[in-house]
């Protein structure tokens, strides 16, 4: 009896995944985080039975959110790389020439990722089980959570697989997958009734009472169920919302999964989209450049114009980046910049309607969050691809110092992202005119944006200099940037949340921010401006009155250190073999 195609693919995928120690480390990390939540949140003293039940539900909901976050972080990476690596290793054509059907190939890949999701869930079952000791927890809640987590995982895997099959390349596939997962993951922060409203700039919600969702509850329910499932899950577990909403959500997740599955199979059957890298090109490079130039009228550098010789005092890597590579990157980045600009203008419009600066700040924060996705794609991805092609080795054999290579690549990447910075700055101009009393807040926001871009670029360079493969470079630098931007304040915030009592309410929390907010360029700005920007005279140490600026300087200095480390890695012995 011949094994089905799905099983053949699944077995090979799992063998590859389980032999990589990094996934074991992720599972252990995840288990530790889950155990930490249980330890921190375990109720102390003797409680009434109904209080026990509430505590148990809270505990379960928090663990559940953590699991959704872990799955949203890990599953796209697993699903996308499982598919794009076939392309990079030129094994894809061999698979397609075999008798395995296209649908079986898609299912095999998806099942392998689902097994990892189940493994994640099983790893923390003991932690989930501990909640049962608190009594008062209905089995119904457990079923709801189990169904929801599986459907969520299925949706993430399907969307990631569809993106990978549709784009065929790592970076766009990861961007789409993480973009969708990020939306779902951040939704509680954006829309939580009690949480700080980051998303108001995005959905025109300067304050809850003025929100579209409040005014139009029917639309609100659908948007809620579609965009913010994890928030709704919380409310279900906390018995706040009806189960009908849960059914709608499950239907949407299942529908989304099916749709993504269909897209994946259709993309797979479009042979030209996923052609092998060893296949010879049908058009010459010059023809493709003509075609590309015709479809992209915004170019700053004409790739077809013969270039003058590089002069003696110039950095050749930098010159090449600007003369040749910039065109390829800009054609994408200009479009991203247009979206950024339109998005920022919406935020300005929302701010004008509400007569509040908050949407503008929210918009800036959203743009900064997007940097964590865009910068690794531009810098780490391109550097990883060059290393795979062997170009980096050839440059290392020249007389150029590692610093020149690093500066050239960094400048090229930042140059490619310049349109986004310009778009944000230009979109901010009306706000400068309208809110003349808030110039500092706006200027600080743009400086924060620039700082974050530099921090992200430096971290990307550092990761790309040590990572062996392009996908490792992109994924690792994305996670590192997110950690640099948000980990410390989030950990502090979680600690404060888990140990209530220090602050009377969230208003007080945000208006008397803890000093650990300084350890994030984003949060230092958010806290500083939410604290009316200037009411920091209470600090005993005078220099701390400008702690936002200190934070920015500290991060820029840290980034320069990261670049120095990257330069060290680029040196002949620090860099691993290509």
């Amino acid at each position: 009896m011949v094994a089905p195609g799905e099983w053949i693919i699944l077995r090979r995928e799992l063998r590859g995944t389980f032999t990589r120690r990094r996934w074991l480390a992720v599972i252990i990390l995840w288990l530790v985080a889950s155990a930490a939540i249980v330890t921190a949140r375990w109720p102390e003293g003797t409680l009434a039975p109904e209080v026990y039940a509430g505590e148990a539900r809270d505990l379960l909901a928090e663990q559940c959110l953590l699991m959704l976050a872990a799955l949203a972080c890990v599953l796209p990476a697993i699903s996308v790389t499982a598919i794009t690596r076939e392309h990079e290793m030129d094994t894809y054509d061999q698979l397609r020439l075999s008798l395995i059907r296209d649908s079986a190939l898609v299912r095999g890949k998806a099942f392998a990722s689902m097994v990892m999701a189940v493994l994640f869930a099983v790893a923390v079952l003991p932690m989930f089980g501990i909640s049962q000791f608190l009594l008062g927890l209905d089995n119904e809640h457990i079923y709801v959570i189990a169904i929801y987590i599986l459907l969520f995982a299925l949706m993430v895997v399907s969307v990631s697989s569809a993106a990978a099959f549709a784009f065929g390349r790592l970076v766009p596939a990861l961007l789409v997958s993480y973009g969708i997962c990020g939306m779902l993951l951040l939704s509680p922060l954006w829309f939580g009734a009690e949480a700080y409203n980051y998303g108001s700039g995005l959905v025109f919600l300067p304050r809850d009472e003025f929100s579209l969702l409040e005014r139009f509850p029917v639309i609100g329910s659908w948007m809620l169920s579609f965009l913010f499932p994890s928030t709704a899950l919380l409310t279900i577990v906390l018995d706040l919302v009806h189960y009908e909403l849960f059914a709608v959500q499950c239907t949407i997740l299942a529908g989304l999964s099916l749709l993504a599955y269909g897209i994946a199979i259709k993309s797979l059957r479009r042979r030209d989209r996923f052609e092998s890298s060893v296949q010879s090109r049908e058009v010459t490079d010059e023809q493709s450049l003509h075609a590309r130039r015709a479809s992209f009228p915004y170019y700053l550098v004409d790739p077809l114009r013969p270039k003058p010789s590089i002069s003696d005092h110039q950095n050749p890597v930098l010159v090449r980046e600007f003369r040749c590579a910039l065109f390829y990157k800009l054609s994408t980045m200009i479009r991203v910049a247009c979206v950024t600009f339109v998005f920022a203008l919406f935020a300005i419009a929302a701010a004008s309607l509400r007569n509040s600066l908050q949407p503008v700040i929210n918009c800036l924060l959203f743009e900064i969050a997007a940097l964590a996705l865009v910068v690794p794609a531009v810098l780490a991805g391109s550097l990883g691809a060059e290393r795979r092609a062997g170009n980096i080795d050839m440059i290392r054999m020249t007389l150029l110092p590692p610093r020149a290579l690093l500066v050239g690549k960094l400048a090229g990447g930042l140059g490619a992202m310049a349109p986004i910075t310009v778009a944000v700055a230009v979109a901010m101009l009306p706000a400068f005119v309208v809110y003349s009393y808030s110039h500092f807040v706006l200027a600080a926001g743009i400086i924060t944006f620039a700082t974050c871009m530099f921090v992200a670029a430096s971290l990307s360079m550092l990761v790309a200099s040590v990572a062996h493969r392009a996908e490792t470079a992109v994924i690792s630098s994305t996670l590192l940037i997110v950690a640099a931007f948000y980990l410390v304040p989030f950990a502090g915030w979680a600690y404060d949340y888990l140990r209530p009592g220090e602050y009377a309410d969230l208003w007080e929390y945000w208006h008397n921010p803890p000093i650990h907010h300084m350890l994030s360029p984003v949060m230092s700005y958010t806290s500083y401006v939410s604290n009316n920007a200037l009411s920091t005279n209470d600090y005993d140490i005078p220099v701390m009155a400008h702690w936002w600026l200190l934070s920015q300087i500290m991060f820029v200095a840290g980034s320069i250190l990261a670049l120095w480390l990257a330069s060290f890695s680029f040196n002949r012995y620090g860099m691993r073999d290509t």
Binding site: P303, S309, D312, G390
Partner: protein
């Protein structure tokens, strides 16, 4: 004068030893064929010599300069052509060479002339304004070799330069390497195409499982390793006498006669073969030709290496 020298060069990756006590000496103008099965340690050796890898133990010198201590000086006199390399998108050949010329700190005033020279040498002048990413495999190999020659290196390390090339491109590559040898370059080539290495190289090294099994002058190795040789003798008169003498000579086997031609496998050394020829002449046999068929690099390779992984 030794221009490339390695002493007890060893490279370990955890418990795996990729290279074990490699001792190698190349003189100026040598073309050294570095042969061995896949994973034998050829590329590791080349990457250590080209400053891209640090050896675990041992030393390597190029033109008397320590590879690990003075990598910058080494890069000035070394040209390295890797087995796998990429080319940049959106660059014409002249721009590509200009980029690497600038990276090798060649002054811009001289660079154009040098680029024209290497384009002519590699027969790429007509392709100077074409995009390198659209080149065929053979053209890319030439392009990479042109890049490697830009700074006029004394030593060339070529890792599988002929792999993936069609027969014509291989012949052209071989001619090009001979031209470079004529220019006084010392060349170390690793290749799997043994027949071509045999034609080009004056020295060879055979490596397997990280250990150098044989190294030195190609002819000497051939003679020292090849115990059995095929000998062909053609006579004008005295075929029967010749047959008797040859048959009676110790160390001769598999004698075949085809008219006036004799063909046999010989275990005789050079002196004994000369004695055989003298015996034939003294016996009145009119010898028209007496040739010893040369062994090939393939024979030596198969004899020296054990195979297996």
């Amino acid at each position: 004068m030794a221009i490339v020298e390695t002493r007890s060069l060893t490279k370990r990756y955890n418990s795996f030893t990729a290279l074990k006590d490699l001792n190698l000496t190349l003189e100026v103008g040598d073309i050294f064929g570095f042969i061995g099965p896949n994973g034998a340690g050829k590329t590791t050796t080349i990457r250590i010599l080209s400053t891209l890898l640090v050896p675990t133990v041992g030393e390597a010198f190029i033109d008397g300069i320590d590879v690990t201590k003075h990598p910058y000086e080494i890069k000035k006199i070394l040209g390295y052509m890797p087995d796998a390399f990429g080319v940049y998108d959106g660059m014409r050949l002249r721009e590509y060479l200009d980029f690497f010329g600038a990276a090798y700190k060649i002054p811009s005033k001289k660079r154009r002339t040098i680029i024209d020279d290497v384009l002519a040498l590699t027969d790429l002048t007509s392709k100077a304004d074409d995009f390198v990413s659209a080149f065929s495999r053979g053209m890319k190999q030439r392009c990479c070799l042109a890049k490697t020659l830009l700074h006029d290196p004394k030593v060339l390390l070529l890792d599988e330069p002929a792999s993936g090339l069609d027969p014509r491109a291989r012949i052209e590559m071989r001619e090009l390497l001979k031209t470079l040898q004529g220019m006084g370059k010392t060349i170390l080539i690793s290749s799997h195409i043994l027949s071509e290495l045999g034609d080009m190289c004056n020295k060879i090294g055979i490596i397997e499982h990280g250990t150098l099994l044989a190294a030195g002058d190609y002819r000497e190795i051939l003679n020292s390793l090849k115990q059995e040789r095929e000998v062909r003798i053609e006579v004008l008169e005295g075929e029967d006498a010749a047959a008797r003498i040859i048959e009676a000579t110790p160390g001769v086997s598999n004698l075949e006669r085809s008219g006036s031609e004799f063909h046999f496998v010989s275990m005789l050394d050079r002196v004994a073969l000369a004695d055989l020829n003298t015996n034939l002449v003294n016996a009145g046999v009119k010898v028209l030709s007496f040739t010893q068929e040369e062994g090939t690099l393939e024979d030596v390779f198969l004899q020296v290496t054990k195979g297996g992984l």
